[in-house]
């Protein structure tokens, strides 16, 4: 590929220090071009958040990266120390984390948490940061943004907390957004508005995104490309339309069949069949055998 790359992950492998060093990521490669929204899909525990955390230098102590490179622009991230990484990522890469409640500080009001980044990275004064934060809350369809600014996290609903984090991520106009299941707590009309905002940001700033989601409907409508993981290994990747409409891997096909369809209430809800799981496991075992043998 000769397209310019915003982010590329090359041969990333990781193991868990729990479970006797069981692999969590197995030689994962993926690339995100500027302005591309890259879907990251895969069963629970497949390693999606592990990838997100690795990019941000937030790998937990019990997980060890054993191989690979993560390149943002021209810089390899895994070789940087925490301070260098923070300086580099601070204004350029924003995370919308999977677990809104734990990502917010319970003892600080939303206003303080939203304006921190604006003041630190975007040179806003207290007053202009506040105005900007209000605008952003409005853009994510928050009712009563003034009240929300005065609230503590526990005083907001799940979807309101999620929108605070989305607004905070957008505030920095980052080059890369890592969105880890960002719309799970949102009703579909608000979700659609958020997806529109991501598209707008992408058009305006050439922002690229890694979009972790389980919702193949969301993937279909927003992602340019998709990478599908199973137990830390890439099973299939490609253009969204190809992957959803002409899936090649049996696992991809099974996931499409498991998806409930509002318009076809009798379809969907078929778990991935045991035979497909067995084939995936065999593929994984073959891979592990080849790398360790």
């Amino acid at each position: 590929m000769s397209e310019p790359r915003l982010l590329s992950i090359e041969g990333l492998s990781a193991v868990s220090d729990r479970d006797n060093g069981a692999p969590i990521l197995r030689d994962v490669s993926l690339a995100v071009a500027p302005g591309e929204i890259h879907g990251l899909v895969g069963e629970s525990g497949a390693g999606k958040s592990t990838i997100a955390r690795a990019i941000l230098g937030m790998t937990p102590r019990t997980v060890r990266i054993t191989q690979g490179a993560i390149i943002l622009g021209n810089t390899e991230l895994l070789s940087l120390d925490a301070r260098q990484l923070r300086r580099l990522l601070g204004a350029e890469v924003a995370l919308i984390p999977q677990d809104p409640l734990t990502a917010l500080n319970p003892s600080r009001r939303i206003e303080a948490q939203m304006t921190d980044g604006l003041r630190m990275w975007k040179g806003h004064s207290a007053k202009s940061a506040r105005e900007r934060a209000l605008t952003l809350l409005d853009e994510v369809q928050m009712r009563e943004p003034e009240r929300v600014m005065r609230c503590y996290p526990h005083e907001l609903s799940g979807g309101m907390r999620q929108r605070v984090l989305i607004a905070a991520a957008f505030a920095l106009e980052p080059k890369l957004v890592i969105a880890d299941e960002p719309t799970t707590a949102l009703d579909v009309t608000v979700q659609k508005q958020i997806l529109k905002l991501i598209r707008a940001m992408q058009a305006r700033h050439k922002t690229g995104a890694i979009f972790v989601t389980h919702d193949l409907g969301v993937v279909a409508q927003i992602c340019d490309r998709v990478t599908l993981l199973y137990q830390g290994k890439v099973m299939e990747h490609g253009l969204t339309a190809d992957l959803l409409l002409k899936p090649r891997h049996a696992y991809t096909k099974a996931l499409v069949r498991a998806t409930p369809r509002y318009d076809r209430p009798v379809d969907g809800l078929i778990p991935v069949p045991d035979a497909v799981i067995a084939a995936c496991r065999a593929e994984i075992a073959g891979f592990d055998g080849a790398t360790h043998g």
Partner: protein
């Protein structure tokens, strides 16, 4: 219809706004909601984010007191019960939370998180019995036994969600309030969990209030659906009726905004009828 298991009349529920100091009046966020749920019935609750679904659910379980209105569970009024009289009801009414990380004690391993309530409510008499039941339930929700020795932050988001489900169903409740429990699961695990819920409602006559933003999921597993907006019910009825011929403009706008798993280049920019 037989006597409902759970019924609520004219519930008004609010929070004191800490942001303004304790002397401030309570502002209602649920504004006069009535509903009833029969044994074995699965009722979906959808609605705008912030419309009061979680608040309503907490009140139904007696976790917060309504400002006015009444709630009865199996003939017993829930509001105003002291902790001692509430205790037996607590086991029979379980909640699975929206935010699994914050509902599981971060300092306890999964084994303890699962076995402690079994011992507390005397569903298991010995630690050994509790361990066996925990292992069985984990298997039912599709988790490997290795999870038992982990702390909540050492497992994935979807794995945590299933730990929450396991903890609720192992107490053999009559009613479960499930607050947005499958949104963090992959579609295969989701299908597995939804089928499990279907089996439990059939086998145990378990009744359920199922809060979700995913209308496809609601349509797949619920008998009835309630649509909420800004603290009020804007529409309710049998799933097929509401979904095929929605009466409220808000319900229509929700249906129009469902993304289908088929790429459609006009979907994002399409202006929805009722928006």
């Amino acid at each position: 219809m037989a006597e409902p298991l759970l019924s609520a009349q004219n519930l008004v529920i609010g929070y004191r706004r800490a942001a303004f100091g304790a002397s401030q009046p309570i502002v209602p966020v649920v504004k006069g909601v009535s509903l009833s749920i029969a044994r074995g019935e699965v009722v979906g609750i959808v609605g705008e984010s912030g419309s009061g679904k979680t608040t309503l659910g907490r009140a139904l379980l007696g976790l917060i007191a309504p400002m006015s209105g009444s709630i009865a569970f199996d003939g017993t009024p829930v509001s105003g019960l002291d902790e001692q009289r509430m205790r037996p009801l607590r086991r029979r009414m379980q909640m699975i939370f929206q935010d699994p990380m914050s509902s599981l004690n971060p300092r306890h391993r999964i084994r303890r998180i699962l076995t402690a309530p079994l011992l507390l409510h005397k569903v298991a008499r010995t630690m050994r019995e509790a361990d066996q039941q925990a292992a069985m339930t984990l298997e039912r929700v599709g988790l490997p036994p290795g999870v038992l020795t982990r702390y909540p932050h050492e497992i994935s988001g979807g794995q945590r969600q299933r730990v929450g489900i396991a903890r609720a169903i192992m107490l053999k409740p009559d009613f479960v309030l499930a607050d947005e429990i499958v949104s963090g699961l992959d579609v295969s695990t989701q299908a597995q969990v939804l089928r499990l819920i279907g089996a439990l409602t059939r086998e145990m006559g378990l009744a359920m209030a199922f809060i979700s933003h995913d209308l496809s999921v609601i349509r797949a597993i619920c008998d009835r659906v309630i649509v909420m907006r800004q603290g009020e019910i804007v529409e309710e009825g049998a799933c097929d009726v509401v979904f095929d011929a929605p009466r409220a403009a808000y319900t229509r706008s929700l249906i129009d905004a469902i993304p289908l798993p088929v790429p459609d280049s006009t979907w994002l920019t399409r202006v929805d009828v009722a928006a």
